[in-house]
């Protein structure tokens, strides 16, 4: 593969992300939210892709790290003067300290990564459906603890008063960071070892790849990116509940990845942008866009039907699970 092809594989998805970011500055404030949602979806789906795409092991658990990242960044950036009032039951160390925007993003990535490492240590021995269900169990436990344990967060109430620092710039840079980290990882020696094990685990082991260790590494990187994406999300919304980072987000982001093409970074970016773009269009169409005026409530029906149709007609996703390439560029 030439250097140019490698540049295109990162450059084109990155350029697409930047284009969406620039596009968001040309639309009204009411529509900007759709562009920011799309960019944050890219960050989350790329995070999931780092593990699921490279390892070939299905995980329903990555959104737990999004949730943990979102609540870590949210709780730690609420201004001190209001924190004791809204979250009186927090552990003192969480209650009496507040950090800035950038530190909170790094903190969320660290918390997501550490948690993913600890969870992955035993779980990465599993594969197939058992791995899928075990990671789903992680999501359930994370959700349950975040929802009920008021010493670490708001519990079942809404976490609000989080500074809304994720604008066009932060969302674009965030999505770019996720994309670049994913690209750097999959091109590294370690990433290639994991991709080899995805194609044939026995053969990979035969040439000395420790499948468990490589999966654990990808799971940790994915967890850190997911935590980071969660921080972007909470700083976009300003307030969040545990339900927003639970089942629906898990299914939607996994669907984005599979619709785009599960085994390529290009697929993750395209899937996230295509599905969130379609979703935004349908939201607007329910209120009437030009000649299109859909009845209220038809959005989810169409979204489900279109996603199912894409998967039936093109099971390997829009991109076919391949990286971006131009004819003649090899």
């Amino acid at each position: 593969m030439t250097r140019l092809a490698g540049v295109a594989q990162l450059g084109v998805p990155a350029a697409l992300v930047v284009a969406v970011g620039i596009g968001s500055t040309f639309v009204s404030a009411a529509n900007e939210i759709y562009f920011l949602d799309a960019l944050i979806s890219v960050a989350i789906v790329v995070a999931i892709y780092v593990f699921v795409g490279n390892s070939g092991v299905l995980s329903f658990g990555q959104v737990s790290f999004v949730a943990v990242g979102a609540f870590a960044a949210g709780v730690m950036t609420i201004p001190l003067e209001s924190k004791t009032g809204v979250l009186p039951q927090l552990f003192p160390i969480l209650r009496d300290h507040t950090v800035g925007n950038v530190v909170s993003l790094a903190l969320a990535a660290a918390v997501g990564g550490i948690l993913a490492f600890l969870v992955g240590l035993p779980l990465m021995r599993l594969s197939g459906l058992a791995a899928g269900i075990a990671t789903f169990a992680v999501l359930e436990i994370t959700h349950n603890l975040l929802r009920e344990w008021t010493k670490i967060g708001p519990g079942a109430t809404t976490l609000s008063l989080v500074p809304e620092t994720t604008g066009a710039l932060q969302a674009t840079i965030g999505a770019l960071i996720a994309t670049c980290v994913a690209f750097a990882y999959q091109r590294s020696r370690l990433g290639r070892q994991l991709r080899a094990s995805r194609e044939d685990a026995a053969a990979a082991r035969g040439v000395g790849v420790s499948v468990h260790r490589q999966r654990l590494l990808a799971f940790t990187v994915s967890g850190a990116l997911a935590g980071f994406a969660g921080a972007l999300l909470v700083h976009e919304l300003g307030s969040i509940t545990t339900e927003q980072v639970y089942l629906e987000l898990t299914f939607l982001t996994l669907a984005m990845l599979v619709v785009g093409g599960v085994s390529s970074l290009w697929g993750a970016v395209v899937g996230a942008l295509a599905v969130s773009g379609l979703n935004s269009f349908l939201i607007e169409a329910e209120d009437g866009v030009g000649a299109v005026d859909l009845p209220s409530g038809s959005r989810l029906i169409l979204l489900g039907a279109i996603m199912a149709t894409v998967l039936i007609l093109r099971p390997s996703g829009i991109t076919g699970g391949r990286e971006f390439s131009l004819p003649g560029l090899r």
Binding site: P122, S127, G128, L145, L300, L303
Partner: protein, 303 residues
């Protein structure tokens, strides 16, 4: 047994009732998985459709209402097979599973659209709620529907055992579940076997719809969603490769949930999901091929 003996009889009875319903759902999911290798996430929406049918026909005589439920659920199940499962045959498990997510989303959205016409979300199935009354047997409150659920589950599983073990179509289904490619080479007709499995799984979904609607007469678009997720987990924990281990898995997770709920102190009962799913992870780590899968298969799938 000492742990069980320490529990009060009420907890055990409730746990068995829950386990029986989950076992029925597990059979429905396991049957389709056996012939199609497809984890049908939209199974809960079949049950939801049945529950809505009962709620919307509340003014009808109860047998007619239940019959309508069976017709709607079985028809929807067959339609799902024809439109969605058939084109997906042979695809990777991830693609099939995610497609059924999309279908589940779509069916929920359709249900919401139909439901919201009266400007409220949720319908109440009034006609069959009376079966939910409790009778007291030896100091233990047993709801009639719990007894019915246990009997229905036992009878259904017995009939299914006869069907699979003693009839030609049952033999074909078992052959297909073991090795679909070879079974087809030996003359098993794929569409017939799959169609029959989907039909049976639709019948089971309708049965569960009736039982659940009696227990929870308030029907919303997310009816049975939670139960389906838990049963899917139970089926994999039990061992999805065989129908009996899948069924036992479904029963086990229902039973375990009931028992843990009875054992947890009241102020800790909000952490019930954490306790159940921690147990799930533990079992998966110790027996990745399934809690009830014995022999060589149990050692497979380890990295």
């Amino acid at each position: 047994m000492s742990v069980l003996a320490a529990l009060d009889a009420q907890t055990v009875v409730d746990a068995v009732g829950l386990g029986a319903v989950y076992a029925l759902m597990a059979v429905g999911i396991g049957l389709v998985f056996g012939v199609l290798r497809l984890v049908n996430f939209a199974y809960g929406q079949l049950i939801m459709a049945g529950a809505y049918t009962i709620a919307f026909t509340s003014t009808w005589p109860v047998p007619a209402s239940i019959a309508a439920c069976f017709v709607v659920v079985v028809a929807l199940s067959m339609l799902m097979d024809r439109v969605v499962f058939r084109p997906l045959r042979g695809q990777s498990p991830a693609v099939m599973l995610v497609t059924t997510f999309a279908i589940a989303f779509m069916l929920q959205a359709i249900a919401l659209m139909i439901d919201i016409r009266d400007d409220t979300i949720g319908e109440i199935a009034t006609s069959i709620a009376s079966f939910n009354q409790a009778t007291t047997v030896a100091g233990v409150d047993v709801r009639k529907i719990t007894i019915a659920a246990v009997i229905v589950a036992a009878v259904t599983l017995g009939l299914l055992a006869l069907l699979l073990g003693r009839t030609t179509i049952g033999l074909h289904m078992r052959a297909a579940a073991t090795d679909f490619g070879t079974a087809r080479l030996l003359g098993v007709r794929a569409n017939r076997v799959i169609g029959f499995a989907v039909f049976l799984s639709g019948l089971l979904a309708a049965t569960v719809a009736v039982i659940l609607t009696v227990q929870f007469p308030f029907v919303g678009p997310d009816f049975a969603l939670r139960e389906t997720i838990v049963v899917l987990v139970g089926v994999v924990v039990g061992g999805i490769d065989r129908l009996w281990t899948a069924t036992l898995g479904g029963f086990a997770i229902g039973f375990a949930t009931g028992i843990i709920n009875g054992v947890l102190p009241t102020d800790k009962s909000v952490f019930l999901p954490s306790a159940v799913f921690a147990l799930v992870i533990l079992v998966l780590l110790l027996r990745p091929a399934g809690l009830f899968a014995w022999g060589r298969a149990a050692a497979a799938e380890r990295v």
